[in-house]
């Protein structure tokens, strides 16, 4: 036991658990991540710069960021509607709807990927009807957006739900009693309190979409310069044994992810200041 030397009264096991936690964390997460940043840091700056500004890489970045942004926006709109229905309305199948939302979380990404292709591919369930109209829902940026929308939906809905549940109706009733119309109540009272969660959900979906691989590469077609996402480009570089190149691309993506995470923290901090609430 940890008797003798202890002069501070604590529950037992701090040193043991803290030590193991830090050790495991370092070995599995921190040290390998450090390897990435060190690799990038020790690269020749010119090589690094050339890699990340090459046309193919730039195209991949644009595609990845663009598609992720659009998908996150779509999810913000529809995710809000879905969350609204689940929290505020009663209808048959509501609980089932609520349970299904997590499907993209539970499903392996490769499985989602081939399923999406089977729907939106040129011979797919939906895709084949749209081809005559010139709409390509696969092997195109549109297909990528669809795939990213699929995996991002739970983030929006699950982030919004607690915020919607917290709206206790009293503020709305107060507004109504003061003569506000439904629309005014919505915009002036409800949207401001939901804004932090909306932003958080959006940024989480966006961050997840940036790094998504499995669900996307089947529908994307992976044509360099056109439908090649950044993650796939990293793998291509590795296949060419260009490890430094892969590392360079990865560092930029990772930095973007970290910035986004910081943004989420910032949103939390800002909303806490506004409402004075934890």
């Amino acid at each position: 036991m940890f008797n003798n030397k202890r002069s501070k009264a604590m529950l037992p096991g701090f040193r043991l658990t803290m030590g193991y936690t830090l050790l495991y964390l370092s070995l599995i997460v921190l040290i390998p991540l450090a390897a990435l940043f060190l690799k990038a840091a020790t690269m020749d700056w010119n090589d690094f710069y050339d890699t990340i500004t090459s046309r193919r890489v730039q195209a991949a970045y644009r595609l990845t960021f663009g598609a992720s942004l659009i998908a996150a926006l779509i999810n913000t709109v529809f995710g809000a509607l879905v969350a609204w229905s689940i929290v505020r309305y009663r209808f048959a199948g509501r609980q089932l709807l609520d349970a299904i939302i997590d499907l993209p979380f539970a499903m392996p990404t490769a499985v989602s990927g081939i399923a999406l292709m089977a729907i939106y591919g040129p011979t797919g369930l939906i895709g084949k009807h749209l081809v005559p109209y010139g709409i390509k829902t696969a092997i195109s940026p549109l297909g990528i957006v669809i795939a990213l929308t699929f995996i991002g939906l739970p983030f929006l809905v699950r982030t919004l739900q607690p915020a919607l549940e917290e709206l206790d109706g009293e503020a709305e009733q107060a507004a109504a009693s003061l003569g506000a119309s439904r629309w005014q109540t919505f915009w002036r009272i409800m949207v401001p309190s939901l804004l932090p969660s909306l932003l958080t959900g959006f940024t989480l979906a966006f961050a997840r979409a940036l790094g998504e691989y499995g669900s996307v590469i089947f529908v994307a077609g992976n044509i360099p310069m056109k439908t090649e996402i950044a993650s796939l480009l990293i793998i291509s570089k590795l296949d060419d044994s260009d490890v430094p190149g892969a590392a360079a691309i990865a560092v930029v993506m990772l930095s973007a992810t970290f910035l986004i995470l910081l943004a989420v923290q910032g949103i939390h901090w800002w909303s806490q200041r506004m409402t004075g609430r934890a």
Binding site: T17, Y24, V29, A35, I86, G93, A106, A118, G214, S231
Partner: protein, 291 residues
């Protein structure tokens, strides 16, 4: 968590409700349910015999074994970590707690391909330990250990993420009670803490396992991608698909899809159990019933 409060959404006019609900249901059906259904439809397209044939392939069996092996190691490792980390975080006060939690959450936010890449940078031929490993005949990348490591990384936070808020909410009073009665650390943990967090543990393990078995991007990077070699089930599916063997690919996918559905069901059941328990313990704090 599932919605449990019922709001007087009757304030919203009827037509608004109809439209919103219709859009929501249609969107979810289109985006989520349809893909799920398509998997099984494609798998059975050529009939039951063709479906079963996919499982008789030796490579398929190897892939399934590989997946189970990777999950079988990664999940227990992360389970032990999750319990250890949440004890350290929930039962003690120290500086930098927020930072520690953020670090634990990191793998959740990092792209799977990058998750695999970082292990190549450490263990790969050009990596830090590459030369040393080669000299000793140990292979990590393109071999089982690499798969296990990559799987462990991507599923790293799952158990901890679930247990930390749960244990923080439960507080430490029962543990202090046990200590004051003379129990030591292990006894306190086994007899008092563990029964209180058991549903949270199951929940974390369930999600951890689902992700471990389904991981694609990270293992794709560290695997040799040679059939029958270090391919996990998702990689095998990818290989079959690229061979245009779509029925077999979807047949394999259907197992994972089934796993996904089981995970979903289990997740919902456990969520309800956890909520129930937390309501119960709230009651015990505020009971004002006369004798």
């Amino acid at each position: 968590m599932s919605a449990r409060k019922i709001h007087a959404g009757n304030n919203d006019p009827f037509w608004v409700r109809i439209i919103v609900i219709t859009i929501s249901v249609t969107f979810v059906a289109l985006m989520l349910v349809l893909p799920l259904g398509v998997i099984f439809w494609e798998a059975f397209r050529k009939g039951g015999a063709a479906y079963l044939k996919a499982f008789q392939d030796r490579n398929a069996m190897r892939a399934i074994t590989m997946t189970c092996l990777a999950a079988g190691i990664a999940v227990p490792l992360n389970l032990v970590f999750g319990i250890t980390a949440s004890w350290a975080i929930a039962k003690f006060n120290f500086r930098g707690k927020g930072l520690l939690i953020a670090l634990i959450d990191l793998p959740f936010a990092i792209s799977p391909v990058i998750s695999g890449l970082i292990y190549i940078l450490v263990f790969g031929m050009q990596g830090w330990l590459g030369k040393w490993l080669e000299g000793h005949g140990i292979q990590i990348i393109f071999a089982v250990p690499g798969i296990v490591l990559a799987t462990t990384f991507v599923t790293f936070p799952f158990v901890a993420r679930e247990l930390i808020p749960l244990m923080q909410e439960q507080g430490s009073e029962e543990e202090w009670a046990a200590i004051s009665l003379g129990a030591n650390g292990w006894q306190t943990f086994w007899r008092v803490t563990l029964p209180n967090i058991k549903w949270g543990v199951l929940y974390g393990v369930l999600l951890c396992n689902a992700r471990a078995m389904g991981e694609f991007g990270a293992v794709s990077v560290v695997s040799s991608n040679i059939r029958g070699g270090t391919n996990t089930l998702p990689l095998h599916i990818d290989a079959l698909y690229n061979d245009y063997n779509s029925v077999a690919a979807f047949a394999m996918a259907s197992i994972l899809a089934l796993l996904g559905v089981v995970t979903l069901v289990g997740k919902n059941l456990l969520e309800r159990k956890i909520e129930q328990e937390s309501i119960n313990s709230l009651e015990s704090r505020t009971t004002k019933v006369s004798q």
